[in-house]
C-alpha cells in the first residue's frame, strides 16, 4: 500500500502517493504544471526546464522531483510564470519555428504552451540557425529546424534489443538528433508513427502525413494545453 503524503501547491492542500513525481502528483490534484520534455511512461529527464517550480524555495523541475511530505510548492508565482515564459521564448528563437508551414501546427506542445502563456513575440533575438531537413529515412522525415532537443524520441523509442534508434549528436548549441543509419532503415510503420506522436513539435514526421485535421478542430485550437487537467479533478483518496 502506497503511503499517502500531504503537500501544498500555491497554498492548496494536495495529497499524493509518496515518491510520485511532482508533475504527476499535481495532475492528480487537478493542477497543471506545464511540461515539454516529459512524456507518460518515459523516464523523466528534466531537460526543457519548463516545469520548473519552487520546492521549499528552491528551483526544481517538477518532472524529476519526487513529492515528499509537507513540501511547499510554488507553481503560479510571477517569478516562475515569467521564467517559464522566458524558456518557451528561448525555444522559439533557438530553432526555426515557422508555425504557418508546419504539419504539427495546432497539435504542437511548444506552440500550445506559447498560446497558453499568450506570447505575442519572444523578447530574445532570433538565431535563425542553419539546420537541415533529413529525408533519407524511408519512413520518417527529421526536420532539425523544429527540434527542441527534448530527448523524448531518444528515451522513448528503442528496438527489440533495447538499442536506441535516436541519439544526440555533438554538444553545446550544436546539439542535434541523429537517427541510427542501420536501425532507422528498419523502422516499422508503427514505430515511425510512435516517433511522430512522441515528438512534441513537428521535428519527426511520418512521410506523406500531415495537415490531416482541419484548422479549428486541432488539439489546441479551442482549448489551452492543460485544460483537461484543470477541468477534470480526480477525487483524492
Amino acid at each position: 500500500m502506497n503511503q499517502i503524503i500531504r503537500f501544498t501547491i500555491d497554498g492548496t492542500e494536495c495529497m499524493a502517493a509518496k515518491g510520485q513525481y511532482l508533475v504527476d502528483a499535481a495532475r492528480e490534484n487537478g493542477i497543471f504544471i506545464p511540461t515539454l520534455c516529459n512524456y507518460p511512461g518515459i523516464k523523466p529527464k528534466g531537460s526543457c526546464r519548463v516545469c520548473t517550480v519552487k520546492v521549499n524555495g528552491r528551483l526544481m523541475t517538477a518532472c524529476t522531483t519526487p513529492v515528499a511530505e509537507s513540501m511547499v510548492i510554488e507553481n503560479l508565482c510571477p517569478e516562475i510564470e515569467n521564467l517559464r515564459k522566458q524558456i518557451i521564448e528561448l525555444f522559439f528563437v533557438e530553432g526555426n519555428h515557422f508555425c504557418p508551414a508546419c504539419e504539427k501546427s495546432g497539435q504542437c506542445e511548444l506552440q500550445a504552451l506559447a498560446y497558453r502563456y499568450k506570447i505575442m513575440a519572444p523578447r530574445y533575438p532570433f538565431a535563425f540557425p542553419q539546420r537541415e531537413v533529413d529525408a533519407s529515412n524511408p519512413k520518417l522525415i527529421k526536420d532539425q529546424n523544429r527540434c527542441i532537443l527534448c530527448k523524448r524520441c531518444i528515451r522513448g523509442i528503442h528496438d527489440e534489443k533495447g538499442r536506441t534508434i535516436f541519439a544526440y549528436k555533438r554538444r553545446s548549441n550544436r546539439v542535434e538528433i541523429g537517427i541510427d543509419p542501420k536501425l532507422g532503415k528498419e523502422l516499422s510503420d508503427e514505430t515511425a508513427q510512435k516517433a511522430m506522436d512522441i515528438c512534441p513539435v513537428g521535428a519527426l514526421l511520418v512521410r506523406e502525413k500531415g495537415f490531416d485535421i482541419p484548422i479549428g478542430e486541432r488539439k489546441y485550437d479551442k482549448t489551452p494545453i492543460g485544460h483537461d487537467i484543470e477541468h477534470h479533478k480526480i477525487p483524492t483518496p
Binding site: 522566458q86 528561448l90 536506441t164 541519439a167 554538444r171
Partner: protein
Amino acid sequence: MKTFTLKVLEKYSRDKTRLMDILIDIQSEFGFISRESIAQIAHELQMSEVDVEQTISFYHFFSMKPTGRYSIYLNNSAVANMMGRKEVAQALEKETGIKFGEVTADGLIGLYETSCIGMNDQEPAAIINNQIFTKLTPFRAKEIVRDIKEGKKVSQMFSASYGDGANRDDSVKSVVTNNIRKIGPILDPDYKVGGAIKKIITLSPEDVIHEIKNSNIRGRGGAGFPTGLKWEFCRNAPGARKYIFCNADEGEPGTFKDRVILTELPRLLFEGMVVAGYAVGAQEGILYIRYEYKYLQEYLEKILQAAREKNYLGKDIMGKKGFNFDIRIQFGAGAYVCGEESALIESAEGKRGEPRDRPPFPVEKGYLDMPTVVNNVETLCAVVKVILHGGEWYRSFGTAESTGTKLLSVSGDCRFPGVYEVAWGFSVNDILDMVGASEKNVQAVQVGGPSGSLIGPEEFSRILGYEDLATGGSLIIFDKTRDIISDVVLNFTEFFIEESCGSCSTCRILPSILKQKVEKILDARGVMQDIKDMEEWGKTLKASRCGLGQTAANPILTSIKNFRHLYEEKIQRSKDFDSGFDLSKAVQEACVATGRVPNI
C-alpha cells in the same frame, strides 16, 4: 584497424560501460574514430551506432575525422590570451599553412583550439599528441612545426629544460613546472605513505567517518559539501557495491592545483582514496582524470602498481582481513562539465557527460546505480592528514566555518603565479601581496574561475572561505591594462557556450544570446536596456540543471555588479533604443553576390 579495435574491445571485456576507454584507445591509435570502427564497436557491444556516436561527438578530444598525425590543441583561456596566445596561434597558422580547425593536406598536422588545459601559470600552452608544451612563443611555435615536418617524435621535441619536481620523473618527462610557492600541511613533502592506512585499520569505519566529521572538512572542489557527511550517507545507503571516485577533472579555467598534487603527491591522494574506501565500505576507487593530463598516465599507473606491491592496495590491505580496495584510472576526453559529479559518473559509465537529475544523489545512486562518493583530489589528500593528526588538529587551521587549508591556483598578472597552500581566512589583499601583484595595478580578481565571481578593489578585503568568498581555488588576476569586458567576460562566456552539454534548454540557448549582447556593447551599439536585459536574462540560467548552467552567466552578472561603470562607459547614453541593426552590413552579402555598389 579492425583487429586493433577487436583487441581493444576484448581488453575491456566488451563492457559498454567502458566505452570511454575503448574510444580513447582507438582515438590514440588512429587519430580518429572511423565509421567502420563505430559500426564494429556498436555491433560487438550490442549498441546502436548513433549511441556510440553520441558519446564520441560529445567529447572534444574524440573525432570522427582524422586529426593529423600531430594534433596541436592550443589553449584559448583568457590568461593564455594575456600571455601572448594570439601571436603563437598566428605563427602556427603561418607555419602550417592551415587555419584552426583544419588538418594539413598531407594529414600531418591538425590545429585545434581547446579550453583551459590546467597550465594557466605557464601559458601559452598546447597539447601535442598528449604531451604538454608550455610557455610557447612564436619562435617555439616555428620550431615545433619545423620539428614535426622533420619527422621528430613528440618526445624529442621538448627543449633541453625539463620541468621541475616530479615532472622530471622518467615516466613523465614533461616541460611542465609545478610552481609550488607556499607549502602547508597538505603539500608538506615530509609525508610517509601508508601511515593513515595503518591507523584506520585499527579503527572502525564509523570512527574514521567520525574523525572526518570532527575535522569539519568540506569539499574542496568548490561546492563545499561536508565530506564526513557525504561518506556517512554513502556508507548508510543500501547497495551491493560502493564506489569512491576521485574527481581530477579540474576544468575550471585557472585551476591547476590538482595537476600539481597528481604530479607531486599521487601517493597521498591514493592513500586518501583508500581511507575513503575503508570508511564507506567500497572496494573500488576510480580516479577520473581529465584527458589534458594524459601525460601523467604512465607515471600514475607506475605508482599504483608500486602501491599494490606494498599492499596499500589490493586484498586484505596491510593485513586487515576483508579490507579490499583497488584503484583504476579513468580518463575523460575533453569536457568541462564532467567535473560535475553526476556528469563525471555518466562519463565513467561510457556515456555523454550530461549531469543527472537530482535526487537521487550519487551517494544513494551513483556509478552503475550504486552508492558513490565523489571527492575532489585535494579533499582526499586532506583526509589523510586528518587521520594522521586528528580532526582537532585540522580545525586549528582556517576559520570556524572553513577549517583547514586551501590550495590556490594563482595566475594572471602577478610576479609569482603558481600553487599556494594557505589557511582559509586570508583576504584577497593578503593573497595579492603574497603572489607579487601590486594592489595599485590590480583591476580585478576572478575568484573561483569563470563560474565564481569577478571582484574589484573595493572587495579585496573580503576573505577566502565558505562564509565569504567560497572558491575551488582558482584566482586569476587582471591588471589595469586589461579590458575586462572583451578580454575576460567575453572569453569566459564563450567558454561556457562551448562547454555546455547542450541537454538543458537554458544553458544551451541563453549564453549565446548573452554573448551577442556583450558584443553589441563592445560594438558601441549598446543602450542601457541591454545591461538590464543581461541582468534579467542571466538570472534565468539559475533554472539550469547543473552548476555549469547555473553559473554560466556569472562572468556577465558579477562584472556588471562590480564593474558597472565599464559597461556604462561603452553604451550610448543619448539613446534608449538601438536594435543594433546595421543596414550597410546587412546588404554586403547581396552586393557581393550581384556585383552591385551598395547604394542604400
